[in-house]
Amino acid sequence: MFQSLSDRLSGVFDKLTRRGSLSESDVNDAMREVRRALLEADVALDVVRDFTDKVKAKAVGANVVKSISPGQMVIKIVNDELVAMLGSDASPIDLNAQPPVTILMVGLQGSGKTTTTAKIGHRLTTRDKKKVLMASLDTRRPAAMEQLIILGHQITVDVLPIVAGQTPLQIAMRAQETARTGGFDVLLLDTAGRTTIDEELMDEVAEVKRATSPHEVLLVADALTGQDAVNTAKAFEARVGVTGIVLTRVDGDGRGGAALSMRAVTGRPIKLIGVGEKWDALEDFDPKRIAGRILGMGDIVGLVERAAQTLDAGKAMAIAEKMRKGSFDLDDLSEQLKQVEQLGGMGSIMGMMPGIGKMKKQIEAAGGIDEKMIKRQRAIISSMTPHERRNPKVLDGKRKRRVAAGSGTKPEDVNRLLKQHRDMADMMKMMKKTPGMMGKMAGMMGLGGGGGFGGGMGGGQPSAAELEAMQKELAQLDPQAIAQLPKDVQEALKALPKAGQQQASKTATLPGLGGGLPGLGGGRLPGLGGPALPKGSFPFGGRKK
């Protein structure tokens, strides 16, 4: 999510920073672009207008135009406003009330209320050790109540038994009574989906709210919602009154405008986001992280999460092990290329690396990343015999011609791949010799070690705590570690935008990529055909701007 919005915005920012001075009309042009980018990302029009007005008012001020780098100033203002719009602090579910704490879930049909109810129930039970009771007030959708009972069974959370013929209000009262007498800490009330213009149903849920005085009223909303997000949010806020928002399907590839709209329109915090089909795929919403992602500051945590989700940890670990032993052969390279593909290709990976947004633009300017190149490279390897794959040295001119013909490529391509493999092997040796921070990171993420992510994660999903720890560790990266890096990676780092010490230290996560991602070894990305750039230059922007 947010990826394409981020792309659009960084395009706008690039134009701004290229200018030495900014006129008012420059700012206006940029704001028009920002507005379009936000609108395309489904941010509600009113919210967009409000946003651009605020930024404009600050950006046109004399301070900005006269400052040394006006472009950067505008970006900072946009950044600040975006964070302000999303809210700056995370706001988790509040259980600070006399038990049983009632939480009422409301929303449109199909927004994911029942699933979210179960996810919250699971989380409060397992993580917070609360005694939770769930009850479905959905007397409308066929099998909705049964759905919650089944879910409760799956996650071992109690569900109020069904009594036929009761109204939602009656069920709610019975649930509260049961929760009180049963000594439950939390009562989750799932409700039927309703359209906001259905007055009677809105009355119904408002009445349930009045009768049960819930401590939290959570509006469950689909992150893929378009402009209607604002109507939904306004209606539920006005008719029922909500205390927070849960965004579902955040793991989709939507641009996430609904997140901005709903928060802005209701003034209520986004408390949780649903990020997958598993029970624990529910996260606290961290506005700063999201704002960073939108602005192209990268989301390394998100990248690691995605890697853990998509990659086969066992395979990754096996490759990492081989690399450590120096027996990284072409089969392993092929496997690694496959993993890059699975992560969504180089472009997608780079989009999540801090500070790379800009380089991405440069790479695109230099001909772009050819994602098919990875496929081609794997085809080359597939065209080799097992013996050749294990011993690339036996590949003489004749064999190379055969491999090229077999994979529909040219002998040059085969050579390039082989050089890449050699360079990677060299890099591996270097990494082995530097036991410092990088080595540690390599072990930690399996990234520097080259085995793809997940290698060091104990083979499973990283827990929230692990991720947090990792994030801290990344933030503390010793700048000296950079000095230990291969030269071309250092050059790349120099080319990164200097955005204060914190940002710079964040970019130190890059080296992990430098060492580990296949094809990066030779100072060349897979899919970034060599000829597109002068030899030896680092494609990420080793060239001076």
Binding site: D42, A44, L108, G112, P142, E146, T167, I197, D228, G252
Partner: protein, 370 residues
């Protein structure tokens, strides 16, 4: 099930005495209780309220008021959209001449209706070409807008047809979570039954809890058999079995439900691909129709949904649901412009008869005019 609210009132009214049941028409209350208990005794009485939507009840009590008013209902469903759109345009155009600033505002208005940038720009281009710097009446703007929208939509207004050449005609339903696949199948099952066709349903959503039960309720309401397996079973295998069964029993229409899936989940999309592949093993021409169910509240992401599902399952038609809320169906215009995939039906409510054929002109008029 937007008849339920009314019915619900009826029931509430009886149970509570004091609730605002003045809006509840009489006949529904008569219909609710008995069938419910007969059908699904395990459920709340709420289920009972749904039951009249089933074939026998729907035919008798519900259809009369509903049928005459479906266009009104569609328009009412789109009313919020149209009102907003027209208000916006009127607001813009009574004030100013058609200058750049006005066009910019108009762009906002159209984007706000989820029309998508491409369509928005086409409308603006037309206006710019013909009307720039002239005073333009609000009605004219609406006309241009309606014509443009209609022009885009006309080629895709293709009603759902059962050719009769295939026995069974296999219809696969796909889409992201919560768009209304199961409900749409239920409505269509009722429709096909009234048309006198034999129908078989396959509960291919073996993932979500109670999805099978949900479809089974629809099966019982419409008197249609549902092929199901245990939760977690292989959806492709189930689809294959259902097709074999449908062939054996000479069923006219087989509708296969699938689990909702986000289009960027590679593994889940591969699973769907497998369903299609396995169906072809039994009948190389199946599935004869693949209907993508789209939620009208979805924004620009709907485009990515069409793209992905088309790639994996070969979407032959789109059903847009939930047009009875405040959502504007504007994204449909953008999708039509881009993909030319037929829009076979619209969901404008929760009743069986709230699934309506898609009419480009009506849709365009409803969007452009209040």
């Amino acid at each position: 099930m937007s008849d339920e609210p009314e019915k619900k009132r009826g029931l509430f009214g009886r149970l509570f005495g004091g609730k605002p049941d003045d809006r509840a028409p009489g006949p529904e209350t008569v219909a609710d209780t008995p069938p419910s208990n007969a059908v699904v005794p395990a459920f709340e009485g709420g289920e009972g309220r749904d039951v009249p939507a089933g074939i026998p009840a729907a035919a008798s009590t519900e259809e009369l008021p509903a049928k005459q008013g479906w266009l009104q209902r569609l328009k009412a469903g789109l009313a919020k959209t149209s009102t907003k759109l027209s208000d916006g345009i009127t607001g813009v155009f009574t004030k100013r001449k058609l200058d750049n600033e006005t066009l910019e505002d108009l762009e906002d208005v159209l984007i706000q209706a989820d029309l998508g940038l491409e369509t928005t720009e086409r409308v603006l281009a037309t206006l710019r070409k013909t009307r720039f710097d002239k005073t333009i009446a609000p009605e004219e703007v609406r006309q241009v807008l309606a014509e443009e929208v209609e022009r885009v939509l006309t080629p895709v207004a293709v009603p759902l047809r059962i050719s009769g050449l295939n026995q069974p005609e296999v219809i696969l339903f796909v889409g992201v979570n919560g768009t209304g696949k199961t409900t749409t199948i239920g409505k269509l099952a009722a429709r096909f039954r009234t048309e006198g066709r034999s129908v078989l349903l396959a509960a291919g959503d073996t993932f979500r809890a109670a999805a099978i039960e949900q479809l089974s309720v629809w099966g019982e309401r419409t008197g249609v058999r549902v092929v199901s397996r245990e939760v977690g079973a292989d959806a492709a295998g189930l689809a294959f079995d259902a097709l074999s069964e449908a062939k054996r029993d000479k069923i006219d229409v087989l509708m296969i439900d699938t689990a909702g899936r986000l289009q960027n989940k590679k593994g889940l999309m591969e699973e769907l691909e497998k369903v299609v592949r396995v169906l072809k093993k039994s009948d190389p021409t199946a599935p004869h129709q693949v209907l993508l169910v789209l939620d009208a509240t979805t924004g620009q992401n709907a485009i990515s949904q069409v793209e992905a599902f088309q790639l994996v399952a070969g979407v032959t038609g789109i059903v847009m649901t939930k047009l009875d809320g405040t959502a504007r169906g504007g994204i449909l215009v953008a999708i039509s412009a881009k993909f030319k995939v037929p829009v076979v039906a619209l969901g404008v409510g929760e009743r069986v008869e709230d699934l309506q054929p898609f009419d480009a002109r009506e849709f365009a008029q409803a969007i452009a005019q209040s």
